[in-house]
Subunit: 308 residues, 2 copies
């Protein structure tokens, strides 16, 4: 599909992409850059690419496709450093969870002869690093592309075909709308999860060991996304502030209403909400974006038919 | 272990208990009551008990152990209705997520010749009904007992042994402290999850189908506990109001600070919190209360070693 692909950053996302590239035989050459010498060495030990570079510019030389797989806050410097190495007709894309900021910040630094098409695969896990990736990470998940106005259609089609070969479904979207959608489906959930885990961490009335011991009552569900990469998520909140603030405002409004319902013992209102929310999970399962197994299927046991 | 056990309510919890009783051969006779004729018929089809009763009082007759497995709001009426059937020396316990209210409300209605020892197995899933239970549900999970002052020690030991035979670790706790611990480890997480799913459900800027489609970014994690039984959870918030309000107050305070950090782009503060929260998940995994598999292990694929 491509002669040479350059992967800039070999963490969870980058290392999953190269594994999916290998699975689909999508490139003859895969060059890998990471600023961490340890990560680069680990990638080489795992045999993830064909070349390993301590310089992003070197990794990008001659690549038909360059994929930024680092936290959004690193993009500007990286793009400046590789701009001179990008070959005419190359596609430059990324995998960040914020798109408006990326378009606005990078576009002027991308050479005219390069197709700049931001992207975002909506998939991941709470694990980080080269060994955390797996080739099926993007299977049946959505990848959103946000090409700027006037983007080359052939290049967009090529990038779409790449992500489909990686295993994803692809949707084209306006960058601003993407950021609003992700603010509610991803950024606010992470902020809330980080917050409640933080709250539980410094209570006086309940000890930390009690929180840990009795976390199976629901709390532990939040700890998964609150264990996501801290730097990546710091950058998301620094660069998608407006959309996050808007969704947070809505969340807080609703929480005030719910708090009131609890305070005044309004059982009818509570039951109405708790019934409505149940249906959304069903829709997500039906859409193939979630497992139907109880407890995420994480319980060691399988269900039986009653004959215990 | 017991000659006869009566299970009052054959939903997820009741049907998991009877399956674990059968697994451990803990009783010769298991009588089952449910107010729903459908649930009772389903339980009989599944062969969950030895007798099936449309009257709780009938189910309780002659039982050595009676376990309430219904929403907390039903306890008072049920206890009044079975009080006359309880045999001298019987143990009456429950499985509700709130203990102070249960002690306060029921104690005066329990005959003096009956040992009343409230309990709470901290385990569950988002599924409901007789077929949702499984015999391993309580394995390696904690069950908290909150005996009233002056409770018979032999009876408490018997109940502890019962839960251990069911698969649980047992902790004895003061009812009031239990309610505070559960407010942060279970009740607040549920309230927050219900709230964010509700918020996502009625936005104008993002459609419901987009929320569903792109939920793998984090949102779907919240939908699991927001799909829990609505009536059970309504009753939790109606009966553990004070502790929930206290934890909600702490959560909101922290969220205001976090909102401020986002607004002013305080990356240092964000990264500090996001790093701290990561460690708590590690402790929960080390305590055996959570899986270490990425993404709760729900991803269809297994991790590979890089050779994709």
């Amino acid at each position: 599909m491509f002669e040479k692909i350059a992967i800039i950053g070999i963490g969870l996302i980058g290392s999953s992409i190269v594994r999916a590239i290998a699975r689909g035989k999508l490139a003859a050459e895969v060059s890998i850059f990471d600023k961490s010498a340890d990560a680069l060495a680990e990638a080489e030990t795992l045999g993830l690419g064909t070349k390993y570079h301590a310089s992003a510019a070197d990794a990008a030389v001659g690549a038909d496709l360059v994929v930024l797989c680092t936290p959004v806050g690193t993009y500007l410097e990286l793009t400046k450093s590789i701009a001179g190495s990008l070959k005419p007709g190359a596609i430059l894309t990324d995998t960040g969870s914020v798109k408006g900021h990326v378009l606005k910040t990078l576009q002027e630094h991308v050479p005219e002869h390069v197709h700049f098409i931001p992207g975002h695969p909506i998939s991941g896990s709470e694990k980080s690093g080269p060994s955390a990736g797996y080739k099926e990470l993007f299977d049946h998940r959505w990848c959103v592309l946000t090409p700027p106005e006037g983007a080359d259609e052939t290049a967009v089609d090529q990038l779409r075909a790449f992500w489909e070969a990686i295993g994803s479904d692809v949707e084209i979207m306006d960058a601003e709308h993407h950021d609003m959608v992700l603010a509610i489906t991803s950024h606010l959930p992470h902020l809330i999860a980080y917050n409640i885990v933080g709250t539980a961490d410094h209570l006086e009335s309940v000890s930390k060991s009690e929180v840990i011991k009795f976390s199976a009552g629901g709390f532990r569900d939040f700890t998964r996304i609150a264990a996501s990469d801290p730097v990546m998520w710091r950058d998301v909140f620094l660069t998608n502030k407006d959309a996050v603030m808007e969704m947070l405002g809505r969340f807080s409004e609703d929480l005030s209403m719910l708090q009131r319902a609890v305070r005044f013992g309004d059982g009818e209102k509570l039951e109405e909400l708790f019934t409505r929310t149940r249906n959304i999970r069903r829709s997500i399962i039906d859409a193939g974006q979630e497992t139907d197994a109880p407890d995420f299927g994480r319980h060691p046991a399988s269900q039986d038919d009653g004959e215990a």
